[in-house]
Amino acid sequence: MVGVGRLVREGVRGSEQARTSRSHDSVSSFHRPLARVHNPTNKPGNRARIPLAMAGAGGGSNDVQWCFSQVKGAIDDDVAEADIISTVEFNHSGELLATGDKGGRVVIFQQEIENKSQPQCRSEYNVYSTFQSHEPEFDYLKSLEIEEKINEIRWLPQKNAAQFLLSTNDKTIKLWKISERDKRPEGYNLKEEDGRYIDPNTVTALRVPVFRPMDLMVEASPRRVFANAHTYHINSISINSDHETYLSADDLRINLWHQEITDRSFNIVDIKPANMEELTEVITAAEFHPHQCNTFVYSSSKGTIRLCDMRASALCDTHSKLFEEPEDPSNRSFFSEIISSISDVKFSHNGRYMMTRDYLSVKIWDLNMENRPVETYQVHEYLRSKLCSLYENDCIFDKFECCWNGNDSVVMTGSYNNFFRMFDRGQRRDVTLEASREGSKPRQVLKPRKVCADGKRKKDEISVDSLDFNKKILHTAWHPQDNIIAVATTNNLYIFQDKMN
């Protein structure tokens, strides 16, 4: 496998990977991609050997430089609403990359097998399958239209030749099977090749049908539909490490499903108050722990994260841990309550940390410390003085996602003006890059960008007032094993890779 080969060269130790996989012995009958993946430790000694996914600011040989690889989507500025990308997700091996859009479609890209003649290039991602996952629906009881926009896609771990993913809109989750067909039976006695039936009286000899190769066809079929379990809008789905269950979360409730059973789900969290007028917070995201199948977290609009243990009780309204940072009084402003709302929560691959994204910052929490995060990174602090305008143009409600790299050493999130940010936890460095057509020549190295907060703008810097707030990067994804990232602008998907030296 391409990605794993490179990581081995760059010094990830196999024995540490084995330590990770031993912790979930529950399912061992099939190959789990997780077992290959991650160097779980964040010890300083190991970090030096891990490729630092930072654009080199004149740095040493360890620095990674990001290059443009591909861009998918229409070029013209007139964006059709249905083409707006709403979610991006790599599968567990990184070979497949799925995107969902506002029109309810899912497009899956597949990484081609590496071109041996050009070892400098990593393989490209090409369209593998496209299908309409969700259609607009109408709730007659409430006289409401249900949007077909895909809110989240989650890949199931691969168990056989087919690939499975869960995709969800506001109300309904669907399990899709994506399978390949490259052979077909030919030589039936009673049927022509085009399907017409042959008159039996004209058959003079018998033959045995055989499988013959055909052009590869990728078929997507809905295998399960999980509907009617959510009164409010679904914001997250998360697949459990037990490979049997998954959770779905809406504004006030979290439900636990079995992957095979569609007519029943268990409600495990319910924060709806008896009197809705007393509502003070809603659930904004939820995720299962990557290794402990009894543990999940959910974040709230008030900036808190609750960790729940399903072994404690059937209904997990009482949290096991509550992660909350006291507000910094010097940063208090009129809008500080709403910018503390968490838009995304992601566990690290090693399961020791979790990352949360609020409007202005990214915070890394150690699961063993509840009273404050261990690291805080400012994404675009220069916006703090502009919150009133951002409220008026609705940008303050934007929900940015965040992601970890394969070995949890770097985190990434999006910003405005098609900028995205990476924070190297070990090196304590960060970089701002831009996803734009101007920087999109093949293998062109991305130049670090800088936003100038005060009036003294240097050359190549961009002032805050000239940022385009319509160009926002809300969804990003990092290949689980390699330095390949997928960054979604409004309707384009950019793929960047590190420069191969």
């Binding site: 809008h233 504004d251 006030l252 007028e277 809603v282 609009s301 208090r332 009133c388």
Partner: protein, 202 residues
């Protein structure tokens, strides 16, 4: 820029957003509506405190006491729904991290669930710690700068206020000078009721 004018503007923006979200495809989003109502509540409280600060400057402290019973008259004799909603408006405030600096005049009363209007107590301090709505001459706020009259009740507010006062037949004390300010403030309360009802409709 006048804090109360800024707060009013934010209220207007919030209300228009809330109404616009009704027509949104996919229905009203609970999270968004909640955030909008949080902002509206903060703007309303800010507006009230700015109004009261102006009143205090104009009238002096001698006239403070009659204000409270009047507000009570409006709140407690109102129909049950209004009182209930105002009680519920106040309850979240102690939990809100926003409470200390901005709602300073309110915080000492937030435990008393008598209605949002009543939470106006008078402390010696200005509330303006928020950086958003800082006026250009903020260091001089306490000083001799003479405040203009509170502006006329904004015309975007519905006429519910007039209807309520007719229903309750309240006696207004000290109408002059404070009338416009309080009326607008009370109308804000009414509008915040609407926002809470919007959430209750979920």
């Amino acid at each position: 820029m006048d804090v109360s004018a800024e707060a009013k503007r934010i209220m207007a923006v919030s209300i228009s957003k809330l109404y616009a979200s009704r027509a949104q495809r996919g229905g009203m989003r609970l999270h968004r509506s909640l955030l909008l109502s949080v902002i509206m509540r903060s703007a309303r409280d800010l507006y009230h405190s700015a109004c009261l600060a102006k009143e205090r400057e104009e009238l002096g402290t001698a006239h403070l006491v009659p204000v409270t019973p009047e507000e009570d008259a409006m709140d407690t004799t109102a129909n049950g729904e209004q009182v209930e909603v105002e009680v519920s408006q106040v309850e979240p405030e102690p939990e809100s991290p926003l409470t200390p600096p901005i709602q300073e005049p309110m915080s000492s009363d937030s435990g008393a669930a008598q209605g949002a209007c009543k939470t106006r107590t008078f402390s010696g301090k200005e509330t303006v710690e928020d950086k958003e709505n800082r006026s250009p001459v903020s260091p001089d706020r306490h000083s001799r700068k003479r405040r203009g009259k509170a502006s006329v009740a904004p015309d975007f507010l519905p006429s519910k206020r007039a209807r309520l006062s007719l229903e309750l037949g309240e006696e207004r004390v000290l109408r002059t000078g404070r009338r416009n300010c309080c009326r607008a403030g009370d109308a804000f309360t009414t509008l915040s009721l609407n926002s809470n009802r919007a959430i209750a409709a979920f």
